[in-house]
Amino acid sequence: MRDPAPWLILFPLIWASLAFLRGQGRGGRLAVAGLTIQLVLAALLAEQIASDGARSYTVGGWGAPLGIDLYADGLAGVLLLLTQIVALPLVVYARAYFAIHPDGISYFWPLTGYLLAAMNALFLSADIFNIYVTLELLGLTAVGLVAAGGGAGPVGAALRYLLVTLLGSGAFLLGVALVYGTYGSMSLQVLTPLINADAPAAVFIAAGLMLVGLLLKTALFPFHFWLPPAHGGAPAPVSALLSALVVKASFYLILRLWLHAFAPLVTTVAAQLLGFLGMAAILWGSVMAIRQTRLKMLIAYSTVAQVGYLFLLFPLITDTNPAAAASALQGGVMQLVAHALAKAAMFAAAGTIILSIGRDDITRLGGVSTRLPLTLFTFALAGLTLAGLPPSGGFIAKWLLITGASGSDQWGWVVVMISGGLLSAAYVCRVLRQAFLSIEAGTKFSPVSRVLEWSAFLLASMSLLLGLRSTEVLGLLESE
């Protein structure tokens, strides 16, 4: 296959549809096989991008403006590879998880396939209207996965998530309409040279609307209210997929529009504002995480905090010297990759613990250290990445971000990053401390399969080893 790009979208669509036809709860094996092939395709595409630079593909030979173009540069390559790498162990985990605890499996497999198809299509989209369609598909499938948990809590969380995601993509689409009305095109390639700092007011409004819509979907403080119930209430494999990957998709779009098409519209004030919101997210998310009593809610609030780090990138890359900006951008992308791996591992480990002891209560974790040592080790390794301790990927990310901040003389952000790291260590240690207590009377550990423990461990060790292999990731990111 000379062009893996369209197959990365078609493959999940095919196996998801087959899984749907086979009925409720079926299709786990299809998913594992499909994702294995997708991983190979993504690696192939990444290799092509690394050697020949950015690639574009015209679907069905029909080019823009009427047809659909796919476009993959280094950033898209990193995210495509990351998505398949995170999803494959999670799918293996999900098979073992639902074998023990079938609640919420109903249409898990087809929805996961459609979710991955939407996400891959989003990373490859070359025009803003296709981005809107893929965003909407991603939102609808994610809502379906959250609602599959059943019960009033998950259904309420799913409905709130749906309304927020519809509001977000509505704002985005109004922005698309204004851009199209002004320039008569939606292709990013056509728009990039047209948009400049003297653009009419409608374009500035459009950029603002699109940014707010995407911030809602990325759950940046103060738009984070929908995330903890949706991510904390879903079955563990769903929480892992959503927290690790789905919030990253809308962040990817912000980064892409900010760096390329809308770069001339960017102001220092807007960048500083995003940085401050990121800072608020880190502090508020961490404090709320420390105060939670349920393990999965703690991890969900930790996602709110870690998303904040991603936004510290913007003040560091806007109107600063090129060396500092390059370092900050690399740091931001490393943070994205490291968090995706670590958060997937953490939710998977939490799911295993909850399956084994049958409840989701941080104060009742006594005995986990002796009964589920590998799972607890997984949780701790993921915590290491979140707190940014060496040699994890999270350490490299924070190191690069701090280098960017010191290189552009914005020392305030360094303080934020370091205190954020300490706060994450605090909530991770809170869980570890409880887990090392002795078993309480009345706590029973039911046996869990090794697949659950090892697939989560694989994700956590990748987040750690990322620190040693960061040059490859950054090399791929650089290829334009």
Binding site: E136, L140, A152, V155, G170, L173, L174, A177, Y180, G181
Partner: protein, 108 residues
């Protein structure tokens, strides 16, 4: 004032009314209707700004058609979830999650 501008401004007004309904109305059915008004406003902006000197732009019409399909699917999903929530809780409003959601106070 050109007709394109009138359409666009009407669309923007509808968008704002829809967003206000979506955020402020506690009743789920009203929220879903609010979303539909918001979507209609966006489509009006798309079609209104899409015309060039009175002639019709097929691309913006195609986009609006796609948009309508998406919003119908989203409405169906929202209605199905709302009905499920009504069956489970007996209320047509979102359960409170404890912290800051404008217009959505926890049910006492």
């Amino acid at each position: 004032m050109t007709s394109a501008l009138i359409y666009a401004l009407t669309g923007a007004a509808l968008f704002l009314i829809g967003v206000a309904g979506l955020i402020l109305q506690p009743h789920l059915l009203r929220k879903i209707i609010g979303f539909n008004i918001m979507a209609s406003g966006i489509f009006l902006v798309l079609v209104g700004l899409g015309q060039r000197e009175g002639s019709v732009d097929p691309v913006s019409q195609a986009m609006v058609l796609t948009g309508i399909v998406v919003s119908v699917a989203a409405t169906a999903l929202a209605l199905a979830l709302a009905r499920r929530l009504l069956d489970l809780t007996g209320k047509m409003r979102l359960p409170g999650s404890g912290e800051g959601m404008p217009g959505k106070k926890p049910d006492a």
